[in-house]
Structure formats: structure tokens, C-alpha cells
Symmetry: D2
Subunit: 316 residues, 4 copies
């Protein structure tokens, strides 16, 4: 049984990733922490609560975290995900609310209390995790593994020519985590995988509509703004799902086709802000993270559709 | 009664500042936290303990904090202060040791438990304070006031052409604090004041030797490396005492001659790293810190000599 | 007899400096070259021609130079000097026009043909001079001396917190010149001198109006926009005259009160762009420029008023 | 008949590219200009002369150019190409010497005198060309086409994690050229093509030895240092030939398999210095250069071997 902690700046694709985690039979989603990123952190908290409740997992505790990056001003992605991060559908407010306690403390306390047991998955900027690392420089060693949806190892970015959103949003946080990491402890999955292996093509979107379950409708509707954005900015044949494909790689390691241990230094200056191109020279410093470079796209979509086909009342 | 918390990367001038705080009759030194800076943090802890014990204040709790800056590698100042930060005198080990608990938590907990009561004085890089601010963005408002020895408002630096050590050592931390600050909450006193108003001239050093108390001898001896450094790098007529003159400004506000509310943005890029030159244009952003720009040098030295003349057995 | 070459981005204060040079009896103004800066280069050419003609010096050849900085986009200062750089007075077009030939070639050819004879004074961004240095790395040694109005050695800027316009506008050019310079070849006079020693106070402005000559009226009128800008941005008691006070230091070295040989490295990154704070540490690299730090303000204004009192028909 | 101007920092692969150009029957090599890069510019001049003489083309005029990059210190690549840039073989001195005149002037004058006729190929840092562009912002339009061996469009570098040597060596020059370029005027071919399509494998090296002509021996011997470097730094299966494959794309456009119009902004800050990753977002600025992304490797090697098989006495 995989025991998960998920840290998320819950926008529309985070929500889908939460559904994958919450409804996976071999996984226990032990807690969710939220962070500012796609949306301001109160909205991330609301969206996480709402998604968990929709999945029949309202009992999973949600803890709110940092309201802004370490040194950069908060720059949300509402142009991509909608003002509420969830497609501006006028979704109802969640029944529950965040538990008392700060995400930083939750990361620190849970990892320390169950060393080597918990798997952490981050789906947003690394602010919470980095702040926790500042408090406990060995924190990353206390997890079973840490997976981060972050970066653009091919230097093709969505926030700048070369930088991906989560790394760009809080590059100092990403740098702190990268420096404390080791390839056997930390795995990054970047936007390159999403663009290649997790694009919801018109056919996929049609199939999703056909599925006609509450979760499928939810997924389709909350991503409608992303679909528009994809058409005008990324030029992909549909919207892509970075956080879900990252979560798929965690829940189903058999779907991971290619990995690469790499030395990644996160760029901090304004010119290359958040860039994470690895150093591939023979004389590069030793690898500090493992990169997932390919995921089985077909397998990912099967996992996605199987999950979205579920009925909430099936929830344990 | 001024209730002080002191955060220090205890090198030789921090030690003198601790003596001023520990032996001031109108002040209660409630705790000391340590941070990496002049020396690695275990040495800062050792030096703080040892200094407090010498001052007969071994009961003041010392808590160890961050072992390195937020994103920069640790760069100590042993060339200035000696390998142990205290002039390499072979000082004995302290009798006591650090209390359990991390400096970040001490700053957070004490400020929160006694809102508006405690005065924080930082004498090293702002890593501990910044990490605490990441956890509690309103932290600075929970102190009575925060004083920081940091910066070079005249753009004359000691670590680069324009940057002072504490700001240079952890510019991201200084940036976090500067952004969370307000001129009525936070006062910075820079290296410019030390160079002008707190230089221990040959006459002063002679007078110190004449004093011939244990504390005076200690002060003279631990600063011998700084005296050499001053002769070759700063060109001052003696060694200067940045942390003591900052502490004097806290303990004796009547010694402060000139202040300036200013907008300070800490430079983060490698080129201007740690520079803190204020924006003095009429259309600059609003002031975020108060700068102390002049201290009564004569008064400072009287305070210093009065303190160093004390006998440990005078300690309460 | 001082043989001058003047390179200028002719805005309103450049025009006054040109008057000082053109009408000085001990000086031969051999040529004027223009560069983009305060205004686009065609306007700089027009303003230089027009000013020389007003001074009865229409025969001085004017050569047009670079239309933009080396790597930065052109950012004019029309907010300071008016859209035409001369207070938007609807001044008439000049009778003459620029001579054939590029400013870069003029600098290269004249210096090479009369080694050690010519004094170059630059009043704008250093684009022309730097481009000439790229072609002839020893160019600066071929002048008798090179004076540049540039920089903010006190780190108090007008284009950013710490940078002066000419250095900020083309920092790469300033860097090229600084690197090719030596203190006996190149003297820089910064904005600090202008702010302290060359402010046209209300009394000065009144006296200028009283003078009631064509040149005095011209000077007062073309600087009216600068006067407004000073009131809202610099907070000085009147408009300051950076280029004229620099020219005064060249024409009348006896007015120079304080100089400082200094190591200046021009900042190139976006964060500190164009900053020229010298390195004043004892272990700084060797000085590369001489800085003029103080000029006799009273003497400067006497020179200014004496010049502006002249009648054009007095021109030789 | 292709009329070529070649600008080169003649190291060992530049020499091979010069052989290709000098001995191509459909090409007139009208002049060679040299620039500091792989080696100091006097060595680049010597190596160019020597190579042309070996090819029986001693009559091609060689003009020396800039001795260092615009703002960066000169950083040669002698670790890659040998101290003399040619494998340290103790090659004889050339019989001829550089013609009077500076490379910058040659670029300016020849382009202006025969507008639209000449094809420029640059094989080194873009210092000469950029300095010429500063003098004549429309210079690039005066060539028939400009080809540059420069950059790493896949963000895999040889001088840093992401930057290729020519762009890294003088990023400001590359920036000037990139800004003045247009995709129909300027084509860049990066290190990516060389690594993929122009690696001299052990088999190729064997075949080269078998060829046993003076030019083949010369090629093999001058690249012996590069071969060692490739083994320890790039990890390629042999040494690669960036300048020859670029020249092949010019001489034989039919060998070019894939091009990509792209918006390239050359990074100038220290962190990403010289990086040339294109902006591939749909909303990127308009393309400013055409990138060659693939060359027919087999065709390239046939061209190379055919050329090296020639006897000097075959030279026209
Ligand atoms: Ca996310
Ligand atoms: Ca200190
Ligand atoms: Ca000017
Ligand atoms: Ca080359």
C-alpha cells in the first residue's frame, strides 16, 4: 500500500491528479497540503477540498501552506486555468475546510514520525517543501520517495522560452530542493512528458464526454480554459495533463518508460528564471535528481479513464 | 525592561555585542539563537555559549539554527575573525550546550506567545529569521521591534565593491525580511555606521588594554584577527565593531543620531549580490525599513568601556 | 588652445554644454559627433546643429553616429527633456546639416591623424566611442584626454536606484570604455557632481531671466521640461546641469576641486544595469578612471553666465 | 558561382572548413577574416594562412580582426584544439601574411561595394560581424546570405550546460547579430547538428588515414587534440566537425535536411551566458534566424572525403 502525501496548488490538472490518487485502490492518500501557484493558496485549498469531496474522500485532511513564493511575487496561472483555477464553473463551496496546522509543519512532522514510509508528490511550486527543508536539511531522506511535477529538461517552456511554470514560479524553492536531492530520493517529471504523452486530443475529449460519469464531466469541464489556452499558446492538439501524468508515474511505475539521472541546477536570475536544463556533459557534476522522460501515454489514458469511470459511491 | 532575543553568527564582534546585551542592567537577554555566517553554526553556538558563560550568563538559553543560507553555499568569514571566529586563541569549550529546539521554531514560538513584547536583534545573515517568515508571513509584526545589523546603504561594501557581509552571505534571506518589513517594525544598521562611528583606534585599543579586566582582555584578544584584516582590506584606523555598535543602538536609543526611512531592495543576482543601496528618488517605492545612519561614537565607546570594566561576579 | 571633439546625445543640457565649448575663447571646437540617448540620433544631430548655429558656430562640422545602444533597445529621455529633447518649443530647423561620414569613423580617423592632440568630451551614452574602441583597442591612448559625463559614483541614480542615464542607457558601451581606460587617459564626471554643484536654483533661474540675452533665454527655455522633472523626481531645488558642469571641468580645470582615481566596473545585468559604484576596498583592482567628485559651483555658474551673456555677433 | 567571405577563429575544425571552401569548384573564396576565439587572433591568422597555402590558395587575402570579445575577456579553447589551435604539431609558419586592413572594415566595405553578391560564413565568435553591424545596422541586408556556425538550439552545450562555444565566447556580439537578423538573411547552424551528423567515428578516422593524401593527413593530425577532448567531455564516438558541417551546408544546400525558422534571443547574463534556445511557444516573437537542424551526414562525409582526396596541384 502506497502511503501518499500530496502537495498541490490545486488548479484543474491538479484536481485530476488528486482524483487519480484518491481513487487508486493500492494507495492511501494520507493528507493533502496546499501552496500558492496556479491560484492563491486559499483557492488551492478550496479546490483540493472540493475535489476530494467529489471523489468521496472528504475525510482526507487538507492543510494550507505558503501564500507566496520564497522571494518572487506570486504570479498565478488564472489565464490558463480560469480565475478559480477550475474553469470558472461556479462550482459549489466544499463542505469541509482545511485542518489547523501549516503545510510546512505537516511535511516536517509526518516525515519525521514515519521515516521512510511516506511518498510525497508535489504538483505545484516547491515553496512548502523548500521551507521545510530549510528547517530540516535532511527532510528529503525521511520520505520513501519524493516525486515532483516540475521543470522542462528539454528547455522548452510554458512560462518563458525555456522554463516550466512550477520551476519558474518559485525558482529559489526549486533550487533548495534540487540541492538537497539525490537521484535515489527525488524524481522530477517535467512538462516535456506531458506534451508528448499526456495530451487530451479531440478524440480523447470525445471519449471523455461519452464516459458521462460525474468525474468525467468534472474533468472535462474544469479543463475547458486549459483547452483554450493550449490552442493559442502551446499549439498542442488538445490540452495536456502535467499533474495527472506525473501522478500516474507514481501510482503505476510500470507506466514509466524512460528515466534519466541528471544534474539539474535551477536558474535563479531573471534572464533564465526557473530553467532546469540538465548538464549533459561528461564532466557535469553528479546527478542530483532522476528525471522521468517518457510515460506510456496509452497506459496513462487507460488509468485516467478507468478512474473517471468510477462512481463516487464506489469509494471505500 | 527591554526583553531581547539575539540571533547571531557568533564571530568576535558578535561576542562583544552579546556582552553588551548580557550585562546591560535595563535588559533581559531571554534567549540567543545561532546561525551560520562568520563561522559554521556549531562554532557560532559554541562561541555564544562561551561568551555568555564568561559574562556570568550561562543560564541564557542558546538554540542552534540554520547551517547554511537559503540558496547560496555557506561562505564563512574566517579570514576576518579567525578559524574559530574568535581569533584562534584556543579558548576553552563552554560548560553548557545548546538547548533542544531549532532557532526557527524559537523565533516563531516566542514571538507568537508574547506578541509585541520581545525585541529581536540579528547580528548575522538573516537565514533563521527569513525561514521563520516563510512559515509566518506576519512574524515581524509580532515583535516589539526587529533590529538587524546588515547592509551598506552607501554602497561601500566589504564582501564586494558594494555589499556588506550579512546581506551578501544570504541575500535571499535579507530579501525575504526586507519585503516583509515596514519602517516602524524593522530597523537596519549597516556597515557604514561601524566604519564611521565604531572604529577601535590605536588609542581605543590602548585604553582597552589599560582597562585590564577579563572582559576587556577577552574583547581585545578575540578581535586580533579583525585588527589585521582591517589593516589590509578596509584601510580603517583600527578594527571596527559592527555588531556592538548595532547593539548599542538598541540598548541605548539615545545614542542614535540619524535615521532614514528608506526603500531597500536587496540585490539577488550574482553581479550585485547582497547590495542594499536604497532608492532615494522621489518616486521610489514606499520605505520598508528604517536605517540607522549615525551613532554617537563617543557614547558608544563609553558604553562599551563601562560594560567591559564590569566584573563577572557583578553579574546578577 | 584646447582642441575639442564633443560627442553628444543633444538634449537640453548638452546644448548648454555645447554653448560653453563653442564660445570659449581658449578652445577650438573641431567637430561634434552625435549619438542616440536623450533623443533619437537624428534629433540629436538637429539639436547640435541648431545650437551651434545659434552660437554663431554653424561652421563646426557635425557627424551623426549610432542610432541605438550596443545591445539594449533605445530608451530616450523625452520625459525629462521634452519630445524633441529641447523643451518642445517648436524651435526652427537648422540651416545646415550633418556632414557625410559616421561618428565612429570620425573618432577613429581624427584621433589617429593627430595623436595626443585632441581632447574628447562625451555627453551621452558611450556607444560611438565603444564601437570605435572595438575597431581600435588603443584608441583612448590617441587622445590628449577623454572626459565623459557618466555614472553615479555615490550609487544614487536617476534611471534606477543606483544608475545614471548615460551609463544605464548603454552599459555595455560604458563597460568597453571603462575596460580600455586608464586614470591618466580617461576622466569621468558623474551625476553626483551635478546634483551638488550644478543645480540652477530659483535664484539662478531668476538671474538667467534677468540676463535677457538670446543665449540666456534659449538656455532657460530649453530646460523648462527638465525643471518640471527635477521637481517631481530628483527633488532638487531646481534643475541640474550635468553636461555643462562636466564641460566646465574640461574647459576650466581650475574649477575642479576634488578628483578620485577609482576602479569602476560598469554593471551589465538587468538588476544593477549601468551602476558604476567604484570599488573602494584596499584590495580593489587598480584604478581605471579618474573621477571628478567636486566642482566649484560658484565658479561654474560664473562661467555659465559669462558665456550666456555673450552676443552671437561676438563670435569669431 | 558562390562568392564567399569566411570569418574564422581558425582552430582545427575551422581549417577543415576552409579546405572545403577553398577547394570547392563552384565557389570563389574571396577573402578570409580572422577573429579571436579558439585561439588568440594572431594565431587564427597564422592558421588560416597556413591552411590556405596548404590548399594551394595562398593568394586568398586574409585580414585580421578583433583581438577580444566585445565585453567579455578572451577565453580560448586551447584545451580542445591544442595551444596553437591546430593540435600542437609544430606546423611550419605560413609563407604569406595578413593583408593590411581590419576585418571589420573588410566586412563593411566588401558588402557595401557588391550588395547582394557575397555570402558570408562565420566560423567563430561574432565579434567582427557585430562590430561591423554597430557601424552599419543594415549590413546583414547587404550580403546575399549570412551563415553562422553558432549556438545550441537544443540547449545542450559544450561551454556550459546549455551554451555552445561561439555564442558563449561573445554573447553580446551574437546578440547584436541576432537582433539585426531576419530568417531570410541569416542562417545559424548549431552544435547539435555537428554532434548528430558530423562525428568522425573510428571507422571514419580509419578511412581518413587510408586516404593518405596530404590534406587527409593534415586533417587527421590537427584534430588529434579534439579527438581526445571528445572522449572525455562530449562522450561522442569520435571528434565532431562543427565548422566543416556548417560549411558543407553552405556549399551544398542539397545536404541540408531540416531547417527551422526560430526566434532566438542570446542570453547575456552570467547564469545562462550564450544560451540560444529558441522560443517555441505559439506566442513567441517572430523568427529572426533560420536554424539548420539536420544535415545529411553521409553526404557531408562524402563531400569531406572527396575534398581531402584532392591533390594541392589540382588547385586552380
Ligand atoms: Ca499544479
Ligand atoms: Ca555577526
Ligand atoms: Ca547628454
Ligand atoms: Ca571555429
Amino acid at each position: 500500500m502506497l502511503e501518499l502525501l500530496v502537495d498541490t496548488d490545486t488548479g484543474s490538472d491538479d484536481a485530476v491528479a488528486l482524483l487519480l490518487a484518491a481513487l487508486n485502490e493500492d494507495t492511501e492518500l494520507t493528507a493533502v497540503t496546499t501552496v500558492a501557484g496556479n491560484v492563491p493558496v486559499p483557492l488551492a485549498t478550496r479546490n483540493a477540498l472540493l475535489t476530494l469531496e467529489l471523489a468521496g474522500r472528504g475525510q482526507v485532511p487538507v492543510y494550507q501552506g505558503c501564500e507566496r513564493p520564497i522571494v518572487r511575487p506570486l504570479h498565478t496561472a488564472t489565464a490558463v486555468h480560469g480565475d478559480d483555477g477550475m474553469g470558472d464553473l461556479g462550482l459549489p463551496e466544499p463542505a469541509g475546510s482545511a485542518r489547523p496546522g501549516h503545510a510546512i509543519d505537516v511535511l516536517l512532522d509526518r516525515a519525521r514520525s514515519r521515516p521512510g514510509e511516506l511518498t510525497l508528490v508535489t504538483l505545484g511550486p516547491l515553496t512548502n517543501l523548500a521551507a521545510a527543508v530549510l528547517r530540516d536539511r535532511a527532510l528529503l531522506t525521511r520520505f520513501r520517495h519524493v516525486y515532483c511535477m516540475i521543470g522542462a529538461p528539454d528547455a522548452v517552456g510554458n512560462m518563458s522560452a525555456t522554463a516550466e511554470f512550477n520551476a519558474w514560479a518559485d525558482p529559489e524553492a526549486a533550487h533548495v530542493v534540487a540541492e538537497a536531492a539525490a537521484p535515489e530520493l527525488v524524481t522530477w517529471i517535467g512538462w516535456d512528458v506531458s506534451r508528448r504523452d499526456a495530451v487530451m486530443t479531440p478524440d480523447d475529449q470525445h471519449a471523455l464526454r461519452e464516459l458521462d460519469t460525474p468525474l468525467a464531466k468534472f474533468t472535462q469541464r474544469i479543463n475547458r480554459k486549459v483547452a483554450e489556452w493550449a490552442a493559442t499558446v502551446t499549439g498542442l492538439d488538445g490540452y495536456d495533463l502535467p499533474d495527472p501524468v506525473a501522478m500516474a508515474g507514481v501510482l503505476r511505475p510500470d507506466l514509466v518508460i524512460e528515466t534519466e539521472p541528471a544534474h539539474v541546477r535551477v536558474a535563479l536570475g531573471d534572464e533564465a528564471r526557473g530553467q532546469t536544463a540538465p548538464d549533459r556533459r561528461l564532466d557535469a557534476p553528479a546527478a542530483n535528481v532522476t528525471l522521468i522522460r517518457r510515460v506510456d501515454g496509452k497506459g496513462f489514458k487507460e488509468l485516467l479513464f478507468d478512474t473517471l469511470a468510477k462512481r463516487v459511491e464506489d469509494a471505500p
